[in-house]
Symmetry: C2
Subunit: 443 residues, 2 copies
């Protein structure tokens, strides 16, 4: 009988060990895909693309036990060679190849020059050829940054006593109700895709006090803009025993600090590749919705057309205002009008036309919506009635309140938007692995 006992070490050098101080002169084996070949005649540079970065390998006629023509761009290879210092190479080292094993070969030459520093092609082409275009170093680096954001979110919340939950994406009814739902047939029952884990995360506050989820949400919105997706990844949290919605903003502020520190510490190569200067989140201004509108309107001379709504251009101006006046990339806009928020939002007792809620703007773009929720059963029923909504399909959600819920609130962060702003992109599709929009369902 054969037994599996764990990973067998293969003595494959990773980039870190190749560029280590004491590595010079060592003979190592490593693996990667041939990113590009530059043939200079008697010598050729073969750049390997590995998950941890690029490694320059050198082919010298006579020194290697194989012929240069055996190597193809796009081939996956195992290489044996000697490490030597070379100031002009990436990371200051290169590998003098003595042996190569071809693990796999492409059937055709690459249709895009992925080894160029910047992929010189349209967004449409990049998206159409995603599995190829992402082989470009800068393109893929954006998704390493994205990983860091999600990782920071979870690690931070574990530390804060949150429990991770997995809630269903197929359901009988949407959380916010109405029009923006994708519909499907579920064994002959009408069903919808979850536009948010809202109801579930609230119900689970009654169980775990603090919960979070990182998962897909689905919005059948007919927006075709640079900042909308019809499927995106939402970073959701919900927490009980709050004193007010400020507790939620405080939690998000601390998450941002934690996440930015994580990126700086563990994603430095990607930050460098993308030339990202991380923003600061140590002190984020919080301003009322109506006040924010007034400030931006006065400074930039833009008339307020609708006191109950925030147009994208207004958001951008508010972002600009707080950057110019307070040097902050982020701003919390608080007390959104009740009529623009869902029924479960807690109205401000001081003025019920507004809610105890907020958006977080990053560089003038909304990346978070959050706030305190109604926790009192009767208040919730009254609000549902006042909006002319039906309780049908919300029985179990309402039961959570009937049998007692602590004061609570939460937020949802759009992962792709946050990545977009961090990476300095201006279209959310640039920071979505496989975007879904009005006209895109593939790849």
């Amino acid at each position: 009988m054969e037994f599996m006992t764990g990973i067998r070490e293969k003595e494959m050098a990773d980039l870190k060990s190749v560029i280590a101080e004491d590595a010079e002169g060592k003979q190592v084996r490593t693996e990667g895909t041939i990113h590009t070949i530059r043939d200079m005649g008697e010598v050729a540079f073969v750049i390997l693309r590995r998950r941890d970065g690029l490694l320059q390998c050198v082919y010298e006629e006579g020194a290697a036990g194989f012929e240069l023509k055996d190597l193809k761009e796009g081939a996956s290879v195992r290489v044996e060679g000697t490490i030597r210092k070379e100031a002009r190479a990436p990371h200051g080292v290169e590998l003098c190849m003595c042996n190569v094993w071809i693990l796999s070969e492409p059937a055709a030459p690459l249709p895009l020059a992925v080894s160029k520093w910047k992929l010189n092609t349209s967004l449409e082409t990049k998206l159409n050829m995603r599995p190829v275009s992402l082989r470009n170093i800068r393109e893929r680096a954006k998704f390493r940054i994205q990983e860091g954001i999600v990782r920071g979110f979870r690690d931070f919340l574990y530390e804060q006593g949150f429990t991770e939950i997995h809630t269903p994406k197929i359901g009988a009814k949407g959380a916010e109700g109405g029009s923006n739902l994708f519909r499907l047939d579920y064994f002959h029952h009408p069903a919808v895709l979850a536009q948010s884990p809202q109801f579930y995360k609230q119900m689970m506050v009654g169980v775990f006090d603090r919960v979070f989820e990182t998962g897909p949400v689905f919005r059948a919105e007919k927006h075709n803009t640079k900042r909308h997706l019809n499927e995106y990844t939402s970073l959701d949290l919900e927490m009980g025993y709050i004193d007010g919605f400020e507790d939620i903003m405080a939690m998000e502020t601390e998450f941002l600090q934690y996440m930015l520190a994580l990126l700086e510490r563990e994603y430095a190569p990607e930050l460098k590749i993308l030339d990202i200067t991380l923003p600061k989140a140590d002190r984020i201004p919080a301003v009322r919705f109506d006040e924010a509108k007034r400030l931006a309107s006065e400074k930039y001379g833009r008339r307020i057309r609708n006191p109950y709504d925030l147009e994208p251009e207004e958001e951008a101006l508010i972002g600009r205002y707080f950057k110019e006046e307070y040097g902050s990339d982020f701003v919390f806009v608080t007390h959104y009008p009740s009529k623009k928020r869902p029924f479960y939002a807690m109205d401000d007792p001081a003025d019920p036309k507004f809610t105890l809620s907020f958006d977080l703007l990053y560089d003038g773009l909304e990346i978070t919506t959050g706030g305190q929720r109604i926790h009192d059963y009767d208040m919730l029923l009254a609000k549902i009635a006042a909006r002319g909504m039906t309780e049908e399909g919300m029985e179990q959600y309402l039961d959570a309140f009937k049998y007692g819920m602590p004061p609570h609130g939460g937020l949802g962060i759009g992962l792709e938007r946050l990545t977009m702003k961090l990476a300095g992109e201006d279209n959310v599709r640039e920071t979505t692995l496989f975007p879904r929009d009005l006209s895109r369902l593939t790849p």
Copy 2:
């Protein structure tokens, strides 16, 4: 202007600080929901349910600045009191209450006795009343264990150089093709829900070498069994530069070891609540499909009816065999018949009727399917043709291979099934927060 700078400490004691060695005599504040009240006359025990466990509070007439009748089961409260040792209390301490603040009150008494040690009710009722039934300590503990599994999966894979990805759940075509797909209308285009991230994770091996995803998958299977769900959470990984599918099994073995150690270290209270003895994964037998069938058939006298399929009862017997003969809760069954595996599975060159693939059985139940995939473009095209399939809708998937892919393989783990087996349950719905099956779409 107000500024958010991070979490403000509230001096709320958590369970850990209350049960600390030097805590006796300290006056603290804490928060929780009243799990149960036991009125003994002059003294009453008020058990608080907090996210970190139960805390016994004592009400003594005269000593407290409030009346016992002010307290209701299901109310969320803030409590002030003095810590004292009490051997009979959970954790050996209790809090003598002097003050209480009611944060929120239920509108009705609880319909289930959630404070009982075991919730004495049917699975149907538990599922129908999920937000209430999960307030039972044992019920919720299962989902803390579930958190630990996912957390272990991610943390382990980060360490192993994997990149986390988020792939779309709405697509134009399914990975395994055919019948088990939920269909929906996507802005007047036919679309399906992803039954697995298979195509995406393979494409991303060409980009990141090693990737993983933890997310929902959707199967429109008409099975109504104790082990099937129509939506579940899949822990998926895919890795390049493998020497064989044994590398995938080795990676899973090491993940199990890592995850079990994490549970032991960080989820000890929940393991204790559920009386779980963790299995060992240090040495997992690997046996060929046909050999496993033969061994089980010979030992237990069950005739092999179909040499190309493994019936659930046969799986159970194979699990039993390796438990009895090798003391192992886990067994890798390898070399599944090609006709039972999807087109992208790598056939065994030594006998193409079988594949370089495996399932992992845990206590006789399949919790993982994995294996090596075809990485050669022409071989993939030939297999698609041989199966009479169309390449339509797979263009970008196939492009990844056309332009070069390393040898690779991967696996998918059913989170709810793994949790079920760890928790010693026999129905996967017991370890699914909100199960979706043939007859259940709510809550």
